[in-house]
Amino acid sequence: MTVTLQTPRLVLRRPAPRDWPAWNGFFQSERSAGVGGPRSLGASWRGFAGELGHWEIFGYGMWAVTLRGDATDTAVGLVGPWTPADWPETEIGWMIWDDKIEGTGIATEAARAALTHAWDVLGWTTIVSYIAPDNARSIRLAEKLGATLDPAAPQPKPDAPVLVYRHPRPRAAA
């Protein structure tokens, strides 16, 4: 089953092949430096195929973030669960593709919806976000969401350490 999330300004939906141009535009640009880019065309395609495969394998994955009322249904980024077999913990990740949504709070709105879904629907008991040490924008978002640095947390790629931000469990979690 594929879950779509709605927030006041956004629709978070399962990514589809039509999101390839937006994905590839991001991964061929310097904006993707914080998430391992820029990538070659081949590496960009493999990454996109992997995102689609993640959904097929788990039934969940990172959502394509779209603006309500946008008739073109263009994704401005991906936000949501990312749990490859080698990850030590369950992650909520984000990548914002479109410069124009900078400073609008849209990434925060999407991430809050994703976190709520992970706690309440997926039933996760812990949530981290892995962030490159020099990705200042991403660090700001993690802090805005109330996450705190956990230096003792296991690393996803021990050869290339990242910052592990741990999200607080909502108090009202039943």
């Binding site: 390839w20 065309l41 395609w45 493999r46 195929a49 995102e51 993640h54 097929e56």
Partner: protein, 214 residues
Amino acid sequence: MAKPVSPKVLPYPVRPTASPAIVQRGVKRRRAAARTNPRAQGLTMPPVIETAHLVMGPCTPADAEAFMDFCATDRSRFLGGPSGRADAWRSVAIHVGQWQLRGYGNWWLTDRATGKPAGRVGLWHPEGLVEPELSWVIYEGFEGKGYAAEAARAARDWAYANLGLTTLISLIDAENTRSIRLAQRLGARPDGVHTYDHGGTVTIWRHPGPGASE
């Protein structure tokens, strides 16, 4: 040589709300479109194909684990291995996701006798490769049974019957003698070389088209 096994292709699940007539028209339209654009076939995961010794189908958690085990061994050297779980899992996810992007991809093989994962065979078509590649991986313990040939023929027949393709290639390292022997058994012939963008050169083996005798 044994007569090629004729695989039984199970129908892809059809949405129950559609009437048979609509489904039939839809299938015809999709098949017509598929001749020019394989993606129009609309499959997002492999249809189940049964052969004499194998069930070929979508990736299960057991398939993913078996593939990661395979990647950890030297047997994966012609796939760029050995590699750890990080790279091996991403490879699984990419192959699974390719079905959504292309409408075709790899099948995960289950040995009918034991119920165990036996390998992965099908169509690999990443960005950068100009045509789909018929590739095969057989796990330890399932070699020497003709499984790779059985699955490769079934995948090739499916591609010719459903995608409108008239040929396929297999890219094989010159030192991979087992795979070369299989390509020859399948009637493929050398047809130039392919150089990967990350370096490394392999032989292009071109398969005979639909209906050609091997």
